[in-house]
Symmetry: C2
Subunit: 596 residues, 2 copies
Amino acid sequence: MSYSAPIKDMLFVMKELADIDRIAALPGHEDASFDTAQAVVEEAARFCGEVIAPLNVAGDRNPSAWANGEVTTTPGFKDAFRQFAEGGWQGVVHPTDFGGQGLPKLIATPCIEALNSANLSFALCPLLTDGAIEALLTAGSDDQKARYLPKFITGEWTGTMNLTEPQAGSDLALVRTRAEPQADGAYKIFGTKIFITYGEHDMAKNIVHLVLARTPDAPEGVKGISLFLVPKFLLNDDGSPGARNDVHCVSIEHKLGIKASPTAVLQYGDHGGATGYLIGEENRGLEYMFIMMNAARFAVGMQGVAIAERAYQQAVAYAKERVQSRPVDGSAKEPVTIIHHPDVRRMLATMRAYTEGARALAYVAAAHSDLAHGHPDEDARRSHQAIYEYLVPIVKGFSTEMSIDVASLGVQVHGGMGFIEETGAAQHYRDARILTIYEGTTAIQANDLVGRKTVRDGGRAAQALLAQIDQTIAALAEVDGQPFKSMHRHLSAASLSLARSIEFVIAKFKSDPNAVFASSVPYLRLAGMTLCGWQMARAMLVSHAKRSEDERFHTAKIATAEFFAEHILPLAPGIEASIVSAKGSEGVLALSEDQF
Amino acid sequence: MSYSAPIKDMLFVMKELADIDRIAALPGHEDASFDTAQAVVEEAARFCGEVIAPLNVAGDRNPSAWANGEVTTTPGFKDAFRQFAEGGWQGVVHPTDFGGQGLPKLIATPCIEALNSANLSFALCPLLTDGAIEALLTAGSDDQKARYLPKFITGEWTGTMNLTEPQAGSDLALVRTRAEPQADGAYKIFGTKIFITYGEHDMAKNIVHLVLARTPDAPEGVKGISLFLVPKFLLNDDGSPGARNDVHCVSIEHKLGIKASPTAVLQYGDHGGATGYLIGEENRGLEYMFIMMNAARFAVGMQGVAIAERAYQQAVAYAKERVQSRPVDGSAKEPVTIIHHPDVRRMLATMRAYTEGARALAYVAAAHSDLAHGHPDEDARRSHQAIYEYLVPIVKGFSTEMSIDVASLGVQVHGGMGFIEETGAAQHYRDARILTIYEGTTAIQANDLVGRKTVRDGGRAAQALLAQIDQTIAALAEVDGQPFKSMHRHLSAASLSLARSIEFVIAKFKSDPNAVFASSVPYLRLAGMTLCGWQMARAMLVSHAKRSEDERFHTAKIATAEFFAEHILPLAPGIEASIVSAKGSEGVLALSEDQF
């Protein structure tokens, strides 16, 4: 099954909803015009469609394989990664000082989407390298930046994030990996890290691990964690890879999906200690890690959008081809392609509405990130940063949760053929299942949304978004026609539900934390649904105004927005009810452990 | 991961909600007392837990394999099936005349649940044989019954259902398999059938295929389909298996889940024609098939309950064992097992509420089936039959849809470990995915619910159920306490939503069929949610009255019912909104095909 990037929708969102013109007006982004964006997105679409997408099924059937500490990736991956690197795709968003293109996140985002739609397993390698680049940019020394960043950006080397240990998953306080300082200023690292994506592979000349570990006198808990850089091959004086470091891949996991992406168990220091270099200051590792995690979480949210888009395209193609049953309205005597059946339409419209809504929200978040970095006014930067940070756990949590449902609908559209692996729909259902887990489970995103992003600023970022939604609701009231009426009604109700849920979260956070954390995932879901619905509302207003410019595109957008309004947003008040009825010790925690 | 049947909840539902005493009072069911039920269920639980459940993971890792037309099942399956047969489990519900135990469906149902929880792939073989037995009981000749039924019931032979062909899935009008009458009264069958569960295997001495095919002069469409019996080995005069028939398994499918269950492509007549025998009358095949399908659909609904229960048990076990993070309420300084975290509780409570609700509804449906067969009064039989038939597509559609969500939550509770195949949670997620597809997709169930079950009798069966719900709502109003208040409020709202949706379906069925069939699956979901919530309401009233008899069990039941009321039922009005806003040609069918 081929993949064709939804270039038109991507550009529509970038221009009309995320306002790329405003980003291009920022100092340093003069080149980031809509025309540039269009050229980059079209080239990304071509490259991903032609080079990367055809390897997706191959990666599933012939996954990465481990032998004697080495990992061989799926045939074709190595060459594709070389082309990816040569095309400059690793550096789209990174600084020109180190060889990147320095383009805004808003332009990088559709490129990331296309890469992940094409091949989730493949895309994980650059995704992790992006994280390593962010960490070094934030906290690396000048020397570290100079030695590593250019190599990452050319794709000669790749990066990894090493957080998880067998006893330390969501709870990083439990990290035990040790870092012993040496006379030369380096450290010796000892420990086991698990679930390390592309922790070992054959696509690059060096692999640079960013590792959370504890120094001997570090305080307990998360305040005693430091971040270390541990290259697979130590660097020679000229910066080239030299001696093999004492970090070894002892196995890779046998997983439900993303099989081409090797998930490594890495053993540090079994032969005397792995040489590592401190990044930034001791005991500030978690702080640095959070910077890369915000970027990585946003990227995983994009993986959700991406796999949903891919599943949607495959389902549409099948629905246009498969002939089965006469129309229920008697409009034809012969069996028709199943896209003519109302329930198949409902499924496809659901998949499409979720995907378009989540795409729009993510791109808008990316624009806030660009404004947070590049706006000349400090207050504006701060407020865009606050909104971006509020949106990150939603983009991550909501897009990935919906992607599982969308991929599942994709299987359903195929009927019995969906359950047969050869068809390919099942791969999306398997691949998508990791997205709500890694880079922080949905519960971890929801905790972040509640604690750091909603309560800490007394709901200010959330209120700013609600005020913007109100403006859209007012604009909807000015337009005639059922689609706009429906959206006005259901978006109004949903935003009221969201507002009351935010109040609940803030009011009860201290007095009944169990209740708040029992309803944190529903709160995230409600926020995601409302904010994506809001983007669809904004989109339909634009499409209303520009309808005559492209009738086919804009009527489809209005219809999709109406579907979102009538079939997804109406669930919001029910979710609110479940949030505000949550009780802590008298609710979900009422039962004793042995009653389960 | 072991499985332990939830005997206590099964017996509670049988006694308190499905009223087994009433079934035992029916003529012919004098032996079906609660004590008998308890003994049978306990033995089923023991057998399934000890013999069948341990083969579940083995079946996934070492699936059925095809070579040269023969299928070898997973090591251990053959012996387990022998024990299953010797234990008399195939015959629990079937007539004593043919060697069965003649017990009511209400007693057979928990046995089926336990078998499917233990091993979905294994349980499919007896499930299909049950279908073949039903078909012969309904339409077989005395000679056919005498020759085949005892062999099915002893487990010496197994049965299959052959409906699907490459071009004919949901749409059986497209069946092309030919049946040519022979001079001796038999037929020669020619054609290809796909997706034939246990169409070939090594666990029985003969495999008897029930095959939909067309005779030469048959009318087009579904009115020209006849049902044939085609044994793998033709019978000798003494009834023993003799010459090999011309039906051959040319391949089996590589599937997402239920891998131990061979899904065969069967080729009929490549070597001169497969000998088949007409069942009942020509051109009435679909009618007979619907009889076995109602039984099989109910059984697949039980598969949904069963896999949800298994996924729940596995998630609970992990949540009680995995230590991660301190409690959010600060009640402990050390990390605790994750079952103490509110979001994990929310997930487990969701899994449990869906599973218990769906179990209760299915068992109650089984009791209606028993009353429909055994009630001395004809009007009563008819009305129980109508209610049973209304419930079958809901039990099938709702239980299986929820089982996918529940299995997915089971993966989520495990975090990263859930994505690793060794853990076993992922198998349930893969296995469950077929349940909304086979024996009629959810859309097919929803069409049946709308057309045959709601509109045809002008909503009478549905109204009868709504009237019963009203009685429960009235009873809830009499009880003090938050759980009962919550249930009263949300069940009232949900049943109103259901009532209005039923009105919509009936009113628009003729005038706007596209709108009705666009909202048929949401209608099924709303009905399932409301009816399962109603059963939880009935359960909590019983538990309130009997609380002191078993404090631990009944407080858990009340808490689970309250969770259902506060976290699942509140979605009902939103689903209603999506149903009644559905528009046909101006709604989901508004876009042209090329706008997708």
